[in-house]
Symmetry: C2
Subunit: 496 residues, 2 copies
């Protein structure tokens, strides 16, 4: 068992890992989906079996608590099993078969068959705030492996011991399932991370973290001689809009739900609600202060994040348009970099729109802003002023006037729109979209949570008139894998 903090990966070692990953790409990509699914299930089983070791290790490095981390590990292994089921089902092939058709308009159609296949080795940058679900064996790793791509996992410096041990468990389970050497490997250090993104053997990258970190890696990826897809999830402000009608119907529930959501995990969620947009006339300030009273600080993931939170909070709180609405309980002798008590700031909707450039910044941690409006048009103006978001939430009654228009505006802003809920839950399903327009992510087209996350690491390939025996199994007439396939209509069927 590794006990000293792993060293940064040097050039020689990185070269070895890249060569291994490149060599693994063919065999791992061509393995039968059922075998790849079996390997992913073996990883899930091995992680579950290591829970007693991994959860305390994660707690020691992340301060997130055993209960949350146990749940997070369960989510992580469920994710692996759901993706295993998805690849075994053959959905990831997105197979289409257009049979030859002499009568096809604009010239005879040859036999055309399309399948999706793995891109090649992927570099994954682990996040700090979910040491299991968005780290070593998290969604990016799971979906790249599911796609058939070897993974080089860049460890997050916030939980190095956990990363090393989780990496051992994953690699051993894959090896035990017959995956080639190099299918999964952990490496360390920002410099090695940047070198990997620029290596010609790397076919794609994935990242969860800050806007600054994500954008700088994205810039490296797209400015290579051969640009590669780079999927960065870079956080979000996650506005929550509340109507007068909703407050009348469920005032307490909404205000306590809000506080629960923005303080969950010390506010260290990319889907933390950063704005609660409420009618000024509702006077929610005192109620919120009452809910917050007595809530003490929680240790954050690490000092860097704690300092970052305090810096942004300080800047926001001291903006002339902003006031401090409420703050939890902090001992008089609290260290300035100690666990921050949760805090709520307040600004008017008009003020927020006016100073959007200064105030619409993610404050990663237990701080959120209550935005008060005096008219619905202020709400719409604010919605239109938002940059891309992972989520946008509306608490309303179905019959509230203007709520349809608000939803229409939010469709252009967010990757997920919630109704009378809280964005901090991100269910792993088929229809989940954890993504959104920039700066929430580097590409609005892709999700990093849910089964569709696999698609980030696949590309289409079409076979024209290739004989049955030389086609990949998913495209053969006999369909030996039982893959779901779309069959293109003939000209006669089209009536064109």
């Amino acid at each position: 068992m590794t006990t000293i903090p792993p060293q940064d990966t040097d050039e020689v070692e990185l070269e070895r890992l890249l060569a291994q990953a490149a060599a693994a790409a063919g065999p791992w990509g061509d393995i039968l989906p059922s075998a790849r699914a079996e390997a992913l299930r073996a990883v899930a089983d091995a992680l579950d079996a290591s829970s007693a070791e991994l959860v305390p290790l994660a707690d020691r490095e992340s301060h997130l608590g055993a209960a949350r981390l146990t749940g997070e590990l369960a989510r992580t292994t469920f994710q692996l099993r759901l993706l295993a089921r998805e690849i075994a089902s053959g959905e990831l092939f997105h197979a289409i078969v257009d049979r030859a058709d002499q009568a096809w308009p604009a010239g005879p159609r040859p036999d055309l068959r399309r399948v999706h296949r793995p891109l090649g080795p992927v570099v994954v940058f682990a996040a700090s705030n979910f040491p299991f679900a968005f780290s070593t064996a998290g969604g990016d790793t799971a979906s790249a492996l599911a796609a058939g791509c070897p993974v080089l996992l860049k460890a997050h410096p916030g939980h190095l011991q956990l990363t090393a041990r989780t990496g051992d468990v994953v690699a051993a389970a894959l090896a035990g399932s017959g995956a080639p050497v190099g299918t999964f490997v952990v490496f360390y250090g920002d410099e090695a991370g940047r070198a990997a993104v620029q290596d010609p053997r790397i076919a794609a990258g994935a990242f969860t973290g800050s806007l600054q970190g994500g954008r700088s890696l994205f810039d490296l990826a797209v400015s290579r001689p051969t640009p590669i897809p780079f999927y960065a999830e870079m956080g979000s402000i996650n506005p929550v809009f509340v109507t007068q009608g909703a407050l009348i119907a469920r005032r307490e529930q909404i205000l306590s739900g809000y506080v629960e959501s923005f303080t969950l995990g010390a506010g260290q969620f990319c889907t933390k609600p950063g704005l609660l947009v409420v009618p000024e006339s509702a006077g929610v300030g005192e109620d919120l202060a009452a809910v917050l009273a007595g809530r003490s600080g929680t240790t954050m993931l690490n000092d860097r994040i704690a300092h970052g939170h305090r810096r942004v909070r300080h800047r926001l709180a001291n903006h002339p348009a902003v006031e401090v609405l409420a703050i939890g309980s902090e001992p008089a002798d609290a260290a300035p970099d100690g666990p921050p008590a949760p805090a709520l700031l307040r600004v008017s909707a008009a003020g927020l729109v006016r100073y959007a450039d200064e105030l619409l910044e993610e404050c990663f941690g237990p701080t959120s802003i209550v935005v008060t409006y005096t008219s619905w048009s202020e709400v719409l103006d604010l919605a239109r002023a938002l940059a891309g978001q992972l989520t946008a939430t509306v608490h309303a009654e179905e019959t509230d006037p203007g709520v349809g228009e608000l939803l229409r505006v939010l469709q252009d802003v967010a990757g997920r729109i919630l109704w009378n809920g809280w964005p901090t839950g991100v269910s792993v399903t088929w229809a989940m979209h954890h993504g959104g327009p920039y700066p929430a992510t580097s590409s609005p087209m892709y999700t990093s949570v849910g089964t569709s996350a696999i698609d980030r690491f696949l590309r289409p390939l079409t076979f024209q008139s290739v004989p049955e025996a030389l086609l990949p199994p998913a495209l053969r007439d006999a369909n030996p894998l039982g893959v779901p396939r779309r069959e293109g209509a003939t000209a006669a069927e089209l009536g064109l």
Copy 2:
């Protein structure tokens, strides 16, 4: 009717067009798919009805001949109709419905419903070599409009009159179908094109043309404060591999097919076969020279392209590893920039691999290289030395040794693999993939031909627990549009 060459679009005019497109995005994106399909069909009908005017105009500006251009226009209008059918079918929504499930592993699942929706205004850069099919109303325009995105079409300077007239026909047909002002507009000039790519109102770009042009626009698109997807199709060398077995079985057919394919349209196809890889022992040189003998030059699209072809051909022909194998008939007094007779160069497979950086360059025009090999391992080495390609073709007998391995290598190289065919035909179907790894395109994930081209201009959006009445029609329980939808399994159904 416009008769003077259109002026470059100035800043003021571009601003007006961008504002119009931004205003059109909502209404055009939200229109019912059946109505959008109807509008696309109206465009197709109007173009067909204008054939007698447009084809001669196209011929005058492109020299491609009335027969080819008539066929190309038919292909263009079929494409519009096929995409119309695709959107009317509801496939483009990629709808998924996961109903709430209290028993969902890792926490209760809320009701989650995902749909794809338009990105917003798209700037399309027209190509020179298909004045209909990859220009004003070509595949990029058709698929962006089908997706629900307004289109700003940057005219190609090679056929300005045709572009202006085609643009009038398209805009009038759209207006007549109730599309909002700004749904489609033509603009002119490289500077305006670069400005449009960088405008915050533009959500995506598409381009067909040279590597240099495509890459420079891609670089602008990804280095914006808010990067946008930019789909550049930048040409290809399109290698064709021929086994000894295939030559024994179909020698004449293969050699004449090759000459037909690389000289088609004066070689001005992005899928022109640029390499014919044949056994040295087959001695195809004389036969090819015989087929080529007497073939005279064809006027190319324009002087710039003619000069570019001659420059690259000259450079390749004078490389020490290359010899001129055969050239068609050119009068002794031919002007140096006159119509180039088709030409074949020759290099050994080993020489081509050795000088890959100098020799593996697209020579856009009626020039191709015959590559001779003395062993199958030379063939595999060559295949592995190739950069990304739109197509790779194999002429072989199914039982030829090593052919399976060649196909496996080519899967990593190309977007489409053809068997005993020629790549210059690109059928518009569901399974077509006209794309491929860089430098064939800027993204290996997308096609610019076929129904999937629409997906380039759509992004997912998930609705969580949103009431029926506020959901987009495609996601409502009642499914009023009859959209095909995937239904996520419940935990009980999964057995997880």
